[in-house]
Amino acid sequence: MTQIELRGIQKYFGAVQVIKDLNLAIADNEFIVLLGQSGCGKTTTLRAVAGLETIDEGDILIDGQPVQHIKASDRDIAMVFQSFSLYPHMTVYENIAFPLRATRMGRNDVDTSVREIAGVLRITGLLARKPSALSGGDMQRVAIGRALVRRPKAMLMDEPIGALDAKLREEMRAEIKRLHIKQGSTTIYVTHDQVEAMSLADRIVIMHEGILQQVGSPDEVYSHPANMFVAQFVGSPVMNMAPAIVSETGGHASVQVGGQPKGFEFPAALANRLADARAENGKLTLGVRPEGVLISRAAREGFMPVKAHIIEPLGSHDIVDLKVGDHMIRARTKSGFVPGAGEAVWARIDPAQAHFFNSATGSSLGIRL
C-alpha cells in the first residue's frame, strides 16, 4: 500500500531548470510510466523520488510523509538501473541477497527469500554465476530480482530494458508486466520508447523540457493528446500535422491543407465548435493519425483526389504518403491497397479522428467531432 505524491517539484542543474513545477499523484499499485525524450527531466524526477538527487523546491510524499530530506537508504524504495548496476564481484545469489543482508536479515530468511524470487524470475539455475557470465536479459532479471526481493514500498525503473536488443526487449516487457500483475507494487518506470510506455502503463506521464505535458491512460494519451508535442510523440508512425484553414461551403466545413484550394470535407458543426474554442482561423493546425486518413481507389462523395507519392509496405499494413498541395499526409492502408507510387487515389479525413491545435501555443482545442 504505497501512494507517492509529487508537489511543486523544481530542480535546477546550475542555471538550467530541469524540472518545472511538477505535480503528480500516484495511486497504490499503479504502474506509472514517465515518457519523454532524453533530457526531458524524467530520469531526474525518478532519481529525486529514489533519493539519489536532491530537489530545490517542492515536496515528495510517500504515504503522506514528506521524504525529500530523507536519505535514499531510508526511503525503502527499490530501483532498477539502466546499466543494471549488478555488483560484479558477487554471484547472482549474493547480488539478490545483498539488500537483505545489508539490513541484517537472518541467514535462513535470506535464503528463502532469494530462492523464492529467483523462482518467480526463472533464474534459479543461475544463482551461482557471476554477473559477467550472464546474458543481457538475465542480468536484467537479476537486477529486478534484487529490487523485488525485499518487497519495497515502491519500485523505480530507469529504462530497465533500454540496453537490450529489440527481441529481448519485447520479451522482458511482457515479463515486467507479468511481474507487476503478480507482485503488485507501486511502480514508476522511465522510458523514451512510446511503445513500451503504451504497453506497460496504467497511466502515462509525458514530459518535455522539464514540464509535464499530459497524464492519462495509454488510450487517453493516444486518442486525446493534450498538445502537439504529445500528439507527435505518442504513436508510430507519427501523427500528420498540417497548418489548416477552415471555411464553410455548401452546408459543410472545408479544411484546406497545404495551400490546396479544395479542402477536406468536415461536418458543418466544426465551424461553430472552432468559434466556441475561440480559435483564430489561419492559426490552426490539423492533426490526424495515419489510420484516420481514409482512402478510396475510386471517386466518392466527400473524398478528395490526391496522388500517392511513396508507399512503405510493412507487411501487416502499408504506409502511403499522399501529396496534398505542397504537404505530405501519411495514411495507413491494408497491404497492397494502393498498387504503386504515382497512383491517383481519393482521400478523406475521419472527422472523429481529427485533432485541432492552436498553432501558436500548440495546445489542443479539445474539439471532438
Binding site: S73, M79, F81, A102
Partner: protein
C-alpha cells in the same frame, strides 16, 4: 600480426627514406638495454651464485676454494641470522600495515570532489620522490632528542627515538610509512576512482550503511590494485637498507640487508654473504609468489 608489423616498414614512416627497417630500429633500442642488463644484473647474479659455494674473501689474495653447501649450512644454523630475519619480518609487517592504513585512508579522503584535488595529490606524493638518504638524514634531525621538532610538537621532552633500542625499529618504520604511504595512496586512488558510481547508488538504494558498503563493495573492488601496492611495498621493505642504515645503528634495527652489507664489506666474507644474498632472494620470491597467487584469486572474483 606482430611479426607483420616488425618485418615490413610503413612506407610513409620517417625512417623509411633513411633505409632503416623496423628490425634495425628495434635492435637499436633493445640491444643496449639487454647488454646493460647482462653486464650489471645477470652476470653478477650468476657469478655470485658461484661464489656462494666458496670461501672466497675479496680482501685477500688467497684463491677461492670450493666448500659446497657449507656457507648455506652455517648461515641457516646461525641464530643471529634468524634474529636478523625476525627483525626484518617485524619491520615489514609494521611498515607495510602502516602504509596501507595511512595510504588507503588518504585515498578515501581524496576520492571525492574537493577543490585543488590535483594540487593536493601532487603535494602528498612529494615524500615518495625524495632520495632515501636525504629522507634518512633529515628524519634523524626531526627525531633528535634535544632539538628535534617531533618531540617539541608532541611535548615528549627528550624522548629518545633512535638511541632507544626498543623504539628505534618503530622510528625507522614511521619514516618509511611517511615516505611510502603516498605510493599506496596513489594506487588506491586509481582503484577507488575505478569503482563505478552507480554501484554506490545501487548500494544506497539497497539500504546498505556506510560500513557495509565499504566492506562489501569498496574494499573487494579495490582489493586487486591494493594487493599490487602491498606486493611492491613488501618487497621493498624486505630489502630496506638505506633508511635503517642512516637513521640508527642499533642491533635491534639490524635488518637482513644491513647484516648482509656488514658481512660482505666489513667482515669481507664474500662467499658467505653471496650465500646469504641468495637466501634473501629466495625468501622474497617466495613471499611475492604467495601474494601473486592471492592476487590472481582476488582478480577471479
Amino acid at each position: 600480426m606482430a611479426t607483420a608489423v616488425m618485418t615490413s616498414l610503413d612506407t610513409k614512416s620517417r625512417s623509411a627514406p633513411r633505409g632503416m627497417s623496423d628490425i634495425r630500429i628495434r635492435n637499436l633500442f633493445i640491444i643496449p638495454t639487454i647488454l646493460f642488463l647482462i653486464v650489471f644484473n645477470i652476470f653478477p647474479l650468476i657469478y655470485s651464485l658461484g661464489y656462494s659455494f666458496t670461501d672466497f674473501r675479496a680482501s685477500s689474495n688467497a684463491p677461492a676454494s670450493f666448500v659446497g653447501l657449507q656457507n648455506y649450512r652455517a648461515l641457516l644454523n646461525d641464530p643471529f641470522i634468524w634474529l636478523n630475519f625476525a627483525i626484518t619480518a617485524k619491520y615489514v609487517i609494521i611498515s607495510v600495515t602502516g602504509q596501507v592504513i595511512v595510504g588507503f585512508g588518504t585515498a578515501m579522503l581524496l576520492n571525492r570532489d574537493i577543490p585543488l584535488k590535483g594540487l593536493l595529490t601532487t603535494l602528498l606524493l612529494l615524500p615518495m620522490m625524495l632520495s632515501m638518504a636525504v629522507v634518512g638524514l633529515f628524519w634523524k634531525l626531526l627525531y633528535d632528542p634535544s632539538f628535534g621538532i617531533i618531540n617539541y610538537t608532541f611535548g615528549l621532552g627528550s624522548f629518545e627515538w633512535l638511541s632507544n633500542p626498543d623504539m628505534a625499529l618503530y622510528a625507522v618504520a614511521i619514516t618509511d610509512i611517511w615516505m611510502w604511504s603516498p605510493f599506496v595512496m596513489l594506487l588506491s586512488l586509481a582503484g577507488l576512482s575505478a569503482v563505478p558510481k552507480h554501484l554506490y547508488e545501487a548500494a544506497a538504494i539497497d539500504r546498505a550503511g556506510p560500513f557495509y558498503t565499504f566492506f562489501r563493495i569498496t574494499l573487494p573492488l579495490v582489493a586487486p590494485i591494493l594487493m599490487i601496492a602491498v606486493i611492491f611495498r613488501t618487497m621493498e621493505a624486505f630489502k630496506t637498507f638505506d633508511l635503517a642504515y642512516i637513521l640508527t645503528s642499533q642491533p635491534t634495527t639490524e635488518v637482513i640487508s644491513i647484516r648482509l652489507y656488514k658481512m660482505a664489506f666489513q667482515e669481507w666474507q664474500t662467499g658467505r654473504s653471496c650465500a646469504l644474498a641468495y637466501i634473501v632472494l629466495i625468501m622474497v620470491l617466495a613471499i611475492t609468489n604467495i601474494y601473486v597467487k592471492y592476487l590472481n584469486k582476488v582478480k577471479e572474483r
